[in-house]
């Protein structure tokens, strides 16, 4: 068991944008589910957390790290989507009294998955360390802007892509995109929404012409063009090969072990996620 949370090392990837890179592992007791990229943005008057972390410990470590940088109030805690590695740290920020922000579909997604995730995480981390979900009170249906004091953030609620509740953040001042899990780099993407929807949202994000992005997993900051190209290629391979498998009458179990294998060398944890992604894609595409 890990000791008390300590402030983690964050990288200031752009002026006032601090990111803690997650480890390329699945959740374990040793890593406290600190596997996603999480961080915060500092304005003149206030701070916005963009993803509170994967567990109570992870959230507390982030809070300590924030306090080493600034004493400004934490006005917003933005939750990028339903997955536990991004949001189970939320409760660590409650005493700061922020507004919790999420996609309009997030409360319903929390209802559907909350107790399932809670039990799963408690099994790995123990009951006290798992943390818990905080239902957002500020819901984004389309797009909103929040202001941290001469620092405006545009929050966009996306149609179903990685999940059905993806929220992205663009920092207007630096034009950096905090993509959440709409962008995976190096680590095998996981599909929990809609493959075609994800591809179309990548096209939409591409139109923003941001130069740099913080992915949900991978390095703390990447060049958007290179990163999105790799992800689009993987998702397109998955889409085309799954469709072809269905057209040829290949059963789902066979597709799961044969589709997408040309991408195997390009992604960490590929074997843990690709087969599952194929099943997810297959069961939707077979209704086309």
């Amino acid at each position: 068991m890990a000791g008390a949370p300590t402030a983690v090392r964050l990288a200031e990837v752009a002026p006032g944008i601090h990111i803690r890179q997650g480890v390329t592992e699945d959740a374990t007791a040793a890593n406290s589910d600190a596997i996603a990229n999480i961080g915060f943005i500092v304005g003149r008057d206030a701070v916005a957390v963009v993803d509170p972390g994967g567990s109570f410990d992870d959230g507390q470590s982030l809070l300590l790290a924030i306090r080493q940088v600034t004493e400004l109030p934490i006005r917003y805690v933005v939750q990028s989507h339903v997955h536990p590695d991004h949001v189970f740290g939320a409760a660590a920020f409650q005493a700061e009294g922020p507004v919790f922000v999420g996609h309009a579909n997030l409360p319903q997604a929390f209802e559907a998955r909350g107790s399932y995730y809670q039990q799963g995480l408690e099994k790995i981390l123990g009951v006290g360390r798992a943390g818990r979900l905080v239902t957002p009170s500020l819901l984004v249906r389309d797009q909103i802007e929040i202001d941290l004091g001469e620092r405006r953030l545009t929050l966009t609620a996306h149609p179903t892509a990685h999940t059905n509740c993806d929220l992205s953040v663009v920092d207007r001042w630096t034009n950096v995109l905090l993509a959440g899990d709409l962008l995976f780099v190096d680590r095998a993407p996981s599909i929990d929404g809609d493959l075609r929807g994800w591809l179309s949202q990548l096209t939409a994000l591409d139109a923003l012409k941001v130069r740099a992005a913080v992915p949900g997993h991978g390095p703390a900051l990447v060049k958007w063009q290179d990163a999105v190209g790799n992800l689009q290629r993987y998702l397109t391979v998955l889409l085309n090969e799954t469709r072809a498998a269905i057209d040829r009458g290949m059963p789902i179990e066979e597709a799961a072990t044969t589709v997408g294998l040309s991408e195997r060398g390009n992604w960490a944890l590929f074997d843990d996620y690709n087969g599952r992604n194929v099943i997810e894609a297959y069961r939707r595409l077979e209704w086309e």
């Binding site: 209802e111 998955r113 909350g114 059905n164 799961a256 209704w287």
Partner: protein, 309 residues
């Protein structure tokens, strides 16, 4: 809701309440809640067997956790077997019945299962049992004369490391079984994220199509039914209760009026059930599907004949 139990309900209710309470104390809340839902939702005629299964399932979930030891798995199957088939002998099927499942579930919410039939006597029914699931009996298929005795494919949910059993009953009344072990990474199957309104909008949609040729099968086909098959375990935090279970309870498939199969299903079937099988077309070869779910909704479809091999 307990109309047909009315005469005995005080006794029955206190008995069932006692069981649920015992579960809460000794096992886990989810299990007890599931059990309570089962009590209030199941039509009485299907009730008793399901209740017995639920008691067995919940009771044995605890020792069967994680890397289920061989003894536990054997004990559990023994319990399930005696609950489902009473004192009847269940023979080892040897290589006459074959279960094809992945060694490790890639997606616990959708585990493809194929049963290959190779019995010398006609099989009248096959039951699929996911031993460690809260409701272990995934479904029972009763075959009609148009069913080709070759294979059966379904998709199930798997909640834990478990044995999966297929039990075949032949026309001379003999039971045969075969089983395979499956590992589940990351625990049990995640509830679907789908928006309930969208799910309801497509509920009962069906597709019926030919699948890859199989030797000795006139028409290999696949029936797809859009249905959430809610397992009743999703917590609705706003209402602090559980989304009620709603699953396909009965599916009847006929060709030219001749039965292919009749399925009695349960919550261990995946969302949007897909069933693969072979059949010999009767009459004009057209297919009629009649499905009913646990909330009493009825869905029916007529499909024109598929091409034969």
């Amino acid at each position: 809701m307990f109309g047909s139990l009315s005469e005995h309900w005080p006794v029955v209710w206190s008995m069932l309440g006692g069981v649920a309470e015992g579960m809460l104390r000794h096992y886990d809340a989810k299990c007890a809640a599931r059990f309570i839902i089962m009590i209030v939702e199941h039509p009485v005629k299907a009730c008793i067997k399901t209740l017995l299964l639920a008691i067995v399932a919940c009771g044995a979930t605890l020792p069967a956790r994680a890397d289920a030891k061989d003894d536990d798995a054997r004990d559990r199957w023994e319990l399930l077997r005696s609950t489902m088939f009473g004192g009847r002998t269940v023979h080892d099927a040897g290589d006459q019945l074959h279960l094809v499942i992945p060694e490790r579930a890639l997606d616990a919410a959708l585990v493809p299962v194929t049963v290959e039939l190779n019995l010398p006597t006609r099989v009248t029914a096959i039951s699929l049992v996911v031993d460690n699931n809260p409701s272990p009996l995934a479904g029972t298929f009763r075959f009609g004369p148009a069913f080709t005795q070759k294979f059966l494919k379904v998709r199930v949910r798997v909640n834990d490391y478990t044995l999966i059993h297929a039990v075949a009953e032949t026309e001379d009344g003999v039971l045969y079984t075969t089983s395979r072990y499956i590992k589940v990474s990351g625990g049990c199957s995640a509830p679907g994220l789908g928006n309930p309104a969208e799910v309801l909008a497509r509920i009962g949609r069906m597709q019926f199509r030919r699948t890859r040729a199989v030797e000795g099968v006139k028409v290999p086909a696949e029936l797809m039914i859009s249905h959430p098959n809610y397992n009743g375990m999703q917590m609705d935090r706003a209402k602090s209760n559980f989304t009620p279970a709603r699953y396909l309870q009965n599916v009847t498939v006929t060709t030219g009026g001749v039965s292919i199969f009749d399925l009695e299903g349960d919550i261990s079937m995946s969302e949007d059930p897909v069933i693969g099988f072979g059949y010999t077309p009767a009459d004009d070869g057209a297919i009629d599907i009649l499905a009913r779910d646990s909330m009493g909704s009825v869905f029916s479809r007529h499909f024109e004949a598929l091409p034969q091999s």
